[in-house]
Assembly symmetry: C2
Homo-oligomer: 216 residues x 2
Amino acid sequence: MHEIRTGFGDVLKRQLELAERNYELLADHGVRAVNVMGAIGSGKTTLILRLAERLRARGLRVGAIAGDVAGDDDFKKFQAAGLPSALINTEDQCHLDPHRVRHALQEFPLAEVDVLFVENVGNLVCPADFPLGCEQEVVVISVTEGDDMVRKHPKIFAQTDVVTINKLDLAEVVGVNPQRLVEDYRRVNPHGRVVLTDAKSGRGVEELLSALGLAE
Amino acid sequence: MHEIRTGFGDVLKRQLELAERNYELLADHGVRAVNVMGAIGSGKTTLILRLAERLRARGLRVGAIAGDVAGDDDFKKFQAAGLPSALINTEDQCHLDPHRVRHALQEFPLAEVDVLFVENVGNLVCPADFPLGCEQEVVVISVTEGDDMVRKHPKIFAQTDVVTINKLDLAEVVGVNPQRLVEDYRRVNPHGRVVLTDAKSGRGVEELLSALGLAE
């Protein structure tokens, strides 16, 4: 393990450089990108589809990149919605990294989109360590995960300035108080914005768009 | 850590050796250990508590190790239930590894337990790569995660012979057909056992105990 620890700082530095190059590539094409993180099943895909509907209703062109360990379920959903989209299967890797995202961006029709959602692998730990070069980041929590999500993963919440607490309509059924999550988040990130959503019904999606600076 | 491909084979070999030492330590004390894996919020803790109740009703002594990136919510639940228990906070690591588990075992009152549940970090990717030395492994899925969980993580399901599909009572509310998960699992692991549970109500817990070889 020792030699790996020695080299890990270099790996992170390299990731940051790659992320910066992605940021520039996106900026060159006038694309605003959002890194959408959150655990498996938190509702990231549905939320992206809802956000995309509202952006397209405003005349904006929206694309999506689906990041998953395996499978193409989310990618197919983006395609079915008519979004220019790409799939990144990470195989053994539990997070997207800027190198893989760069390859996807290089083949993506960036000239045809204004907003690009990058759906990260479902995981609340490692995506926090790998910036992708997106101008915005959001973490999606589902109330079905329990009220201890923030306490269990303080790092990703401390460094992410937009959080959405999703599947709000199930809060009562699962006996979770969303305010507990809100309070825990404010404790680790007093300046962050937190939005309550229910992606299926569309509740809160407009506020989330606003929190991401995409509403205007 | 997974980026560092050079040397990773050696790391895995070392992990396997450490896992074997844990296995021997547990066997020396006559402790049967179960590595409980699954995504965040899949219901691992509640399921362990239900299994523990039934084992204790049979006169068996049960302990638990709570693995989390941060926080002590699950550990406190084990303590409140009167189980000898330990907490492993992995900080930046998205999975338990046999080295950390070994340290926990060395301080654990192994002579006072017959069955030990080791609750892994909530993540469906990396725990698959790190054997802990437990004689049994189980992956917990919650229906609230969607019906694509197995397709997105074939590896962990292919190598784990007991799977439980939990929060069954919410299947209708979230519009997920558990049979889809069962079929996907059978496709990647034809010899595995799959049990439908609802940990909160106790439904299916007896079958799970049986699937884990702990019912007799």
